[in-house]
């Protein structure tokens, strides 16, 4: 019990540290500037009027999805052209920025697929 319990606790701790790192590593000022482009379509309030909400997501799924658009593994041409020239650092900055916000309206339904 003591041994495996300790490992489990460590694993949880490690996961929390990783998540916190992702949030911290993302450059907030860079994220803020880059995010101004996104809010033309994705509302900061989290409201859905035909374009999905992107606020309050866990950084890792946010990063995975933007990377998929960049690598053209996801279809939408609008998002592909938005993501085309992003560096990993820029994607992390965006994940940190939007991840740190809470939606004020609409449903929070982050998709991870």
């Amino acid at each position: 019990m003591t041994r495996s319990g300790g490992i489990a606790v460590l694993a949880v701790l490690a996961a929390q540290v990783a998540a916190a790192d992702a949030l911290r590593i993302g450059d907030r000022e860079l994220g803020e500037y880059l995010s101004s482009e996104c809010v033309t379509c994705h509302q900061l309030s989290g409201r859905y009027d035909g374009i999905p909400s992107i606020v309050g997501w866990p950084p890792d799924s946010f990063i995975a999805i933007l990377t998929d658009y960049r690598e053209k593994r996801r279809e939408n041409p609008v998002m592909r052209s938005i993501a085309v020239k992003f560096t990993d650092e820029e994607i992390a900055a965006l994940a940190a920025y939007f991840g740190s916000m809470a939606p004020t309206t609409g449903s929070l339904a982050p998709k991870t697929d």
């Binding site: 482009e37 809010v39 033309t40 379509c41 509302q43 859905y48 041409p77 052209s81 085309v84």
Partner: protein
């Protein structure tokens, strides 16, 4: 008074921490001043973002006579009956970010003194000026037409009563009517706009059960934005109703006659029931009078930051600017505004700046659940704004794609209007 005290305190605190690191532009005492002429997608977005992100360190004044702004974008949806007037009209809610909205026209810019004169004679000093007046119409570019003639043959290419006039004329048509649209030469506001408009007009006629009415487009261009997808859509939804004529077919527009309601080309004289004249365009008057335009009638800018090539204290953006590969659209104006806001904060408040990124997407409604799009991402390259990646809807796309594109268009409108006005 409370406001003043808070602002002084903020400025003082910022100066103490060294954030206010732009002594060269601090004119006299007080905070650095940004004046923005025009409260459209370009100007209002700059004003909001500078005020919001500088948190009181920069004094932001927006000069715009209107109290609420009716958007040209989605005005074709108004024309088509998809949206009401109130859905495309937005009161400014920028005061909460710290923007001072002066409801007047700017009548002059003294670039040496760095002062803007307003219609009532007031002068506003600036450290940086943003000029975003949009376009003016060239009323003399179509023989026989004039500003007065636009009361009979509307342009509806600026928001306001002209759009309501065009809609009233359209709604009054009986079956068998002939509509003539005179399309504009490049470069003009919203490249796909005339063709979306023709689609929305056809939607109204079709919905009223017209089988004999037709829409003739007299175009000075031999091709247009999203042409293949538009023409396929017209054939599909409105077979035989929309007839597009390029210069090879009509031989050139000769004149229009508002009294006789005729349009004459080299080929023929058409008697019409509704004539929509969309004339040639140029940068708004204030930009021309301040000497910010070149021989094209629009304002040359530095592609890396939208700064006027003719005055380092002035930024020009939106429809008035020469933005290279970017079209004159609200999306583009809003995108450029974020670059300008960042650069202004960099200059006046020492904020960090990053390389400019520009983007655009223009959606166009062909019919209910059938919307197409064109867009791209842009960067400064060899002195101009160039496209780095682009896309356009293709003929033959499935219904699900077109329906999703329709939803995006509605979602985008909510997003961008919240971003600009409130």
């Amino acid at each position: 008074m409370t406001e003043l005290t808070r602002r002084r305190f903020t400025a003082g605190a910022l100066a103490a921490t060294g954030i206010l690191a732009a002594p060269a532009v601090a004119r006299g005492k007080g905070k650095p001043r940004l004046v923005v002429i025009g409260g459209g997608p370009a100007g209002a977005t700059v004003a909001k973002y500078v005020a919001k992100d500088s948190q009181g360190a920069i004094d932001v004044t927006m000069v715009e006579p209107l109290a609420s702004f009716t958007t040209c974008f989605h005005s074709n949806l108004f024309l088509g009956g998809f949206k009401g007037w109130e859905q495309i009209t937005h009161p400014y809610k920028l005061a909460s970010y710290g923007v001072t909205h002066v409801r007047q026209m700017a009548t002059g810019i003294d670039r040496d003194k760095r002062e803007v004169t307003l219609a009532d004679g007031t002068k506003l000093a600036y450290d940086r000026l943003v000029v975003a007046p949009g376009i003016d119409l060239k009323f003399d570019s179509v023989p026989g037409w004039s500003e007065a003639a636009a009361e009979v043959m509307p342009h509806a290419w600026k928001p306001g009563p002209q759009m309501q006039l065009l809609k009233a004329q359209l709604d009054a048509l009986e079956d068998g009517a002939t509509i003539v649209m005179v399309a504009p030469p490049n470069p003009y506001r919203c490249p796909p706009g005339p063709y979306e408009r023709a689609s929305c007009m056809a939607h109204v006629l079709k919905a009223k059960g017209h089988t004999q009415s037709r829409i003739v487009i007299i175009d000075p261009k031999d091709r247009f934005s999203k042409m293949a997808a538009f023409q396929e859509g017209w054939q599909k939804h409105y077979p035989g109703m929309i007839e597009w004529m390029d210069p090879k077919m009509h031989g050139g527009l000769k004149s229009v006659d508002p009294a006789a309601m005729t349009v004459t080309t080299d080929l023929e004289t058409i008697k019409a029931d509704l004539v929509n004249v969309i004339p040639a365009q140029m940068a708004g008057r204030i930009a021309r009078e301040a000497g910010l335009v070149n021989e094209t009638g629009y304002c040359p800018i530095d592609a890396t930051n939208m700064r006027s090539k003719l005055d380092p204290n002035i930024y020009v953006l939106g429809d008035a600017a020469i933005a290279g590969a970017m079209p004159k659209s609200a999306f583009a104006a809003n995108s450029q505004a974020k670059v300008v806001a960042m650069m202004v904060r960099g200059e006046l408040a020492g904020a960090r700046t990053f390389p400019a990124r520009y983007a655009n997407t223009c959606w166009s409604v062909i019919e209910t659940d059938d919307t197409i799009k064109v867009g791209g991402r842009y960067e400064a390259k060899d002195g101009a704004i160039a496209e780095v990646e682009g896309f356009v809807s293709k003929p033959g796309e499935d219904a699900a794609t077109r329906r999703q594109t329709s939803e995006e268009n509605i979602g985008w409108y909510s997003g961008i209007t919240a971003d600009i006005f409130g």
